[in-house]
């Protein structure tokens, strides 16, 4: 899809310029898939070799909050997709509306996650000083370690995503995002946001739904 009207060096055609931008974003996300892929492998190994411990620990997760956060992220992704579609059509108002909604949903996800960590800390589940007393088996401790590392790493990515979305919203409101000329910026930031959504799509069943 041709969405860049201003051609830059060294690209001969707008199509090539568009392709290069998309390709760069996809390859960056591929490196992120490898980063999280290693974590998923370790969680899968733990599930296989210490199944009873993993199931026991997984049953203590706050399933309702995890499912709520999944719905929040899926909805935010749909809003970002709507923003991208509007950006390509050169309509700034729906772009801002979508970005604003997605930013707020991203913040809501982080708030729910923080609340969840607090509950788990109080219940003695989190592997941090002052907590973790509720777990007796080594496999349960290991599961909670991976839970904290993987959800923490995801939360860091999500925070970066919220900052990117908010920055884009401010840029658009300041009139420094000409559309559809610069729709590619919305598209690429959207790609990152969808990727963060996909990581959670895998983390949710692996961590919350082991039975």
């Amino acid at each position: 899809m041709n969405e860049i009207t201003r051609l830059r060096e060294p690209y001969p055609t707008p199509e090539r310029q568009q392709e290069a931008a998309m390709m760069g974003a996809y390859i960056f996300l591929a490196t992120e898939i490898m980063l999280f892929g290693g974590l998923f492998l370790v969680i899968a190994w733990l599930r296989y070799s210490h199944a009873p411990d993993v199931v026991a620990a997984s049953k203590r997760m706050h399933l309702g909050l995890g499912a709520l956060n999944t719905a929040v992220l899926l909805t935010s992704s749909a809003l970002v997709a709507l923003s991208v579609a509007a950006a390509r059509e050169g309509k700034p108002a729906p772009v801002r509306l979508g970005l604003c909604g997605a930013t707020l949903l991203g913040l809501a996800f982080l708030a729910v996650k923080a609340m969840e960590y607090r509950f788990e800390y109080r219940e003695g589940l989190l592997p941090v000083p002052g907590s973790g007393a509720a777990l007796s088996k080594a496999g349960e401790h290991l599961f909670m370690n991976f839970y904290l590392i993987s959800t923490g790493l995801h939360a860091v990515h999500l925070t970066i995503g919220v900052l990117l979305l908010a920055g884009l919203l401010i840029r658009s409101m300041a009139g420094r995002l000409p559309l559809p000329d610069r729709a590619i910026v919305v598209t690429v930031i959207g790609l990152y946001w969808h990727f963060v959504d996909i990581v959670w799509i895998f983390l949710f069943p692996l961590l919350y739904l082991a039975r």
């Binding site: 899809m1 390709m23 996909i198 739904l209």
Partner: protein
């Protein structure tokens, strides 16, 4: 706007799959439960990649760049999995 309708349909499908994964975790246990949740997660990821991440509109080269890492993760899982299963690690 037909594009908005498409996004809405994908969102509805994603929410239905979320409900399906929660329900399947209540019904299935062990390997069957893990397999069901992973298949549903892959279906959700495929929907997001295909529609939201624009693979539907891109050419073959971009599709390979976007999904190449999935192949590498599959190799990582396959070879490590063989070790774990056959050598009792």
């Amino acid at each position: 706007m037909p594009k908005a309708m498409q996004i809405l349909s994908v969102w509805l499908a994603l929410m239905a799959l979320l409900a399906a994964t929660v329900v399947s975790s209540m019904l299935l246990q062990g390997t069957a439960g893990l397999a069901a949740s992973l298949v549903i997660a892959l279906a959700k990821a495929a929907l997001v990649f295909w529609f939201f991440m624009h693979l539907r509109e891109e050419n073959g080269l971009a599709r390979i760049a976007a999904t190449g890492a999935v192949l590498w993760v599959a190799i990582l899982f396959l070879l490590s999995g063989l070790d774990i299963v056959t050598r009792g690690l």
